[in-house]
């Protein structure tokens, strides 16, 4: 799969996890594409942590409103029925459990559902932005990412990078696999369109329980 196919595969599969009426926060980057695969009758409300619900598509060229941007600072739109608010209410929504699903990328995720996605000490320290609040507060945390980084596993026995939060990840969706985080460990429940169980095991450091359906 090329990059575009990987993104499409992951985003489409994440979209299936959303239920009618959900309030959803999509992280910057790959997770943003999930919105492309959600149809209107699902009545999903996207939350933008810089201060609104009802996040719509990117603004059309020439129709950008400099006062309406997403959490990445890009010009977007607000859908009918949406509402603007300040950072305090935005994180009341996020931390208070009013977001049904948050979808984020990861540098590493591990068998305990630990997530690392905000710094590589000495190399890259962008900061956590709203990620720590989102991961702690959202009812369901979905990590959406490429399965490995140039063949190097990102799904580990134990994260080695500083954590974003401990034991908060519920599900990992990659182009190769859908993995659920359970008290017994990581359970491989689905395979990507071109992947076999062996392919997945080869680029996953953490132990995987193979679900009955895949046996």
């Amino acid at each position: 799969m090329d990059k575009a196919q990987i993104i499409e595969t992951i985003a489409k599969r994440v979209a299936k996890e959303l239920n009618k009426g959900d309030v959803v926060n999509l992280g910057i980057g790959l997770p943003t594409f999930v919105a492309n695969y959600v149809d209107a009758e699902m009545q999903i409300t996207f939350q933008s942590e810089n201060g609104f619900v009802g996040l719509g598509p990117a603004a059309a060229k020439g129709e950008e409103n400099p006062d309406i941007v997403n959490a990445g600072g890009l010009p977007v739109t607000i859908l009918p029925g949406g509402a603007f608010f300040d950072s305090s209410l935005s994180f009341t929504i996020i931390r208070g459990g009013h977001v049904d699903k948050t979808v984020l990328g990861a540098l590493q995720v591990d068998a305990q559902g630990n997530l690392a996605n905000w710094m590589i000490p000495g190399k890259m320290v962008p900061g956590m932005g709203g990620a720590m609040d989102l991961v702690v507060g959202a009812k369901k945390v979905i990590v959406a990412m490429e399965h490995s980084a140039k063949g190097k596993p990102k799904i580990l026995k134990k994260c080695t990078l500083p954590l974003t939060a401990a034991s908060e990840v519920d599900m990992i969706i990659t182009e190769m696999a859908v993995i659920e985080v359970t008290p017994e460990g990581l359970v491989l429940t689905e395979l990507g369109p071109e992947a076999t169980v062996e392919d997945v095991l080869a680029v996953t450091e953490a132990d995987l329980i193979i679900s009955e359906a895949l046996k």
Partner: protein, 217 residues
């Protein structure tokens, strides 16, 4: 008792070494005209409290490039590589705070609360050196209130009583910052007569605002 002043007058109220809250989210809803005037003034050694350090070309980002900031208390510096460079070189101290925690710490400062009890940051580098409290069997971090000498805000509209109104996603940290600084200056796109903002729709009551500046949008 709000007063309308000029950009340069506003900038002169920021002294070397001051702690300054600055509204905005990657510059959107930021007092970018006042920040330009601060760059001209070349005020030094600022501690800034803000969501981020924008980009090297705009607002806070330019203050970073111009080395006017000693310490930044922010949630994210990824949009401004110069901030990361200065941090790694030991030229700029950066305290990274989860975004919801930053909003609550400022709010606590403005609302007379002793601190914030949050799960965000538990078992991460954010908890280092902080008190943890067990409440009903769950752990929470105790995060300290933030206050500032001066808050530089941006609003879409102000009436002459200092009541502020924010359009779209420009609101972000501006309303909480209005409550947590000794002196509050709002840069606005538009100044209207009293009564033109419905009292129901005021987002920051004028009692929080000391000075208004017509900005450069």
């Amino acid at each position: 008792m709000v007063e309308i002043i000029g950009l340069q007058e506003a900038a002169e109220m920021v002294s070397d070494g001051a702690t300054v809250m600055i509204g905005g989210f990657i510059g959107v809803g930021g007092p970018n005209s006042i920040l330009e005037a601060l760059i001209e003034n070349n005020v030094k050694d600022l501690t800034i409290i803000s969501n981020d350090t924008v980009t090297p070309e705009l607002g806070i980002g330019k203050l970073v490039v111009n080395k006017q900031i000693k310490k930044a208390i922010v949630t994210h510096i990824g949009t401004n590589p110069e901030t990361g460079r200065q941090m790694n070189a030991g030229e700029l101290e950066v305290e990274l705070v989860p975004q919801g925690t930053l909003a609550e710490r400022i709010r606590a400062g403005g609302a007379g609360l002793g601190g914030v009890l949050t799960k965000a940051g538990l078992k991460t580098p954010v908890e280092e050196g902080k008190r943890k409290l067990e409440i009903n069997g769950q752990d929470y971090l105790l995060e300290m209130p933030l206050k500032a000498d001066i808050a530089l805000l941006k609003a879409s509209k102000a009436d002459k009583a200092g009541n502020l109104y924010y359009n779209g996603s420009t609101r972000n940290f501006n309303p909480v910052m209005a409550t947590a600084a000794e002196l509050v200056i709002a840069e606005v796109d538009e100044i209207v007569e009293i009564g033109e903002i419905n009292p129901n729709d005021v987002m920051t009551p004028g009692i929080f605002v000391n000075f208004i500046v017509k900005g450069g949008r």
